[in-house]
């Protein structure tokens, strides 16, 4: 098995029965494993709600570590759509040429930094700084803020070896509180200020609502982006021919990014709470129980994807759910896609090969399933293209 491979632990259960119930802090979750069920359930917000106790739709549940409702993530339509329309234009800024230019400069310079090193640990020395620096563009904050975010480490809610860490979450909440107070006192053109000045439902957004948006932006785009970037580096280490192909055929980079998002599925699953007794895939979902939409499993569904366990760089039709599906699809996806597209472009132009020196996989445990989602650490050496 190649080191970069991400196995699909759900295959047998997906084809046999289509779901699996696992425990999570005494609030069990039934994971839905088939593409069709995942998409239908994601779409049916009336029976499968996101608007429950804050933190409950996340697996593992964050009910015990936060009270702030993440917005628009933990709201259902129609109010979800009203919030989303306030945010949409801001979160589509990564489609602008100047945003992409600034991001290209960041990606290019961090690759150059890494090329100068004898070896590097990708998660902490490359993916985390890149994610944090890129986030300054999305928030439109000074570049130096990224230093603070890098100092928090890879997990915003977790510390090494522990599932959930309330102290760590408080660092983020306190930081966001301070930034919002600053934006209220001295508005600028950053996201905090824009949120505090946003009109919503005939009034301004409240500080608590703005905080809900900011927590979502920080938390949702951290592990996910870091895993996507790190997994891409590992993939290219095993597949130097792919670097070469992207160099020759940059027009397939968009497809390659979607394919990586499908294959990596940086977020394994997301929950919903059942509002009325229902049936999904033969499973009797009881009111007030939880189900989860297993993006990682749906993305390997052999009824939808040919050769699901292979990265087919130029896959043409790719209805993956790596950014979620339906109303709640990823708000940061435009930003994430640009990071990945630019990363692939810059790597293909600068890097000839990557050697993996050693690694420690990041394996999640979901009931009896073990799912590799990325790496705790992976030491590599970047080799420049030889002329």
């Amino acid at each position: 098995m190649k080191k970069s491979e991400i196995p699909d632990p759900f295959a047998a259960q997906r084809s046999k029965c289509g779901y699996e119930t696992i425990d999570d802090q005494n609030d069990p979750v039934t994971m839905l494993l088939r593409h069709k069920d995942v998409r239908k359930t994601a779409h049916n917000y009336k029976t499968f709600t996101s608007e429950t106790v804050p933190g409950r739709i996340v697996v593992p549940s964050e009910v015990n570590i936060r009270d702030t409702r993440q917005i628009p993530f933990e709201m259902d339509p129609p109010i979800h759509g009203a919030y989303r329309s306030v945010l949409e234009a801001w979160f589509k800024r990564p489609n602008n040429a100047d945003y992409q230019e600034a991001l290209t400069t960041m990606v290019s310079s961090i690759i150059d930094e890494m090329l100068a090193k004898e070896s590097l640990e990708v998660v902490n020395e490359f993916a985390l700084p890149l994610q944090s620096r890129a986030l300054t563009l999305l928030l439109n904050t000074p570049f130096k803020e990224s230093e603070t975010w890098i100092s928090w480490g890879t997990h915003v809610f977790r510390s090494e070896g522990e599932a959930l860490d309330a102290d760590k979450a408080n660092v983020l909440y306190d930081y966001i509180d301070r930034e919002l107070d600053r934006a209220i006192a001295n508005p600028s053109d950053d996201l905090y200020s824009v949120l505090m000045q946003s009109d919503f439902d005939g009034r301004k957004l409240s500080k608590e609502e703005a905080k809900g948006v900011m927590v979502l932006t920080f938390a949702g785009g951290r592990d996910t982006v870091i895993n996507a970037v790190t997994n891409a580096i590992a993939y290219f280490a095993d597949h130097p021919e792919s670097l070469k192909r992207l160099r020759k055929e940059p027009e397939i980079i968009t497809n390659a990014v979607e394919e990586m998002i499908r294959y990596f599925s940086p977020l394994t699953h997301m929950g919903r709470v059942v509002t009325e007794d229902a049936q999904v895939c033969e499973h009797a979902a009881k009111a007030d129980s939880r189900v989860s939409l297993c993006w990682a499993s749906a993305n390997r569904d052999e009824n939808v994807f040919e050769n699901p366990d292979e990265i087919v760089l130029d896959r043409k039709i790719n209805p993956h759910v790596g950014f979620g599906f339906s109303h709640h699809n990823c708000l940061g996806a435009t930003h994430a896609r640009q990071i990945m597209r630019i990363l692939l472009k810059e790597l293909s132009e600068k890097i000839g090969s990557i050697e993996i020196l050693d690694l420690k996989e990041n394996i999640e445990q979901w009931g009896r399933f073990q799912r590799k989602v990325g790496y705790h650490k992976i030491n590599v050496k970047f080799n420049a293209i030889t002329p």
Binding site: I317, N318, P319, A333
Partner: protein
């Protein structure tokens, strides 16, 4: 060559000419409001949803099952809905009128 007309949500009619590629890519190149084409045309995001003018439906080829399944789960779908990333530009499409979906 095909002339393709988009009607945006603010009732602007914009006619553009295309030679090849997908209608989504043509719309994005021309900055047609409401067609984002986030996934680049792999049928994953539905941000290129259009309604084909009823009299022009015969100009388009039938949608694949993957496209139909995707549209089935969109709130604004009707019998004229298509994902414009799945509409390939050819002479057959000349004169087609597409209303950008909400």
């Amino acid at each position: 060559m095909a002339k393709i007309t988009f009607i945006t949500s603010d009732e602007q009619r914009i006619t553009v000419e295309g030679f090849s590629g997908s209608v989504m890519a043509l719309a994005v190149e021309n900055g047609i409001k409401g067609i984002d084409g986030d996934c680049g045309g792999v049928c994953s995001c539905a941000t290129c949803h259009v309604h084909v003018a009823p009299e022009d439906v015969s100009k388009t080829r039938e949608a694949s099952e993957i496209e139909t399944d995707m549209l089935e789960l969109d709130d604004h779908t009707d019998q004229y809905s298509r994902l414009s990333c799945q509409l390939q530009i050819s002479e057959d499409l000349d004169g087609v009128v597409l209303r950008v979906a909400k």
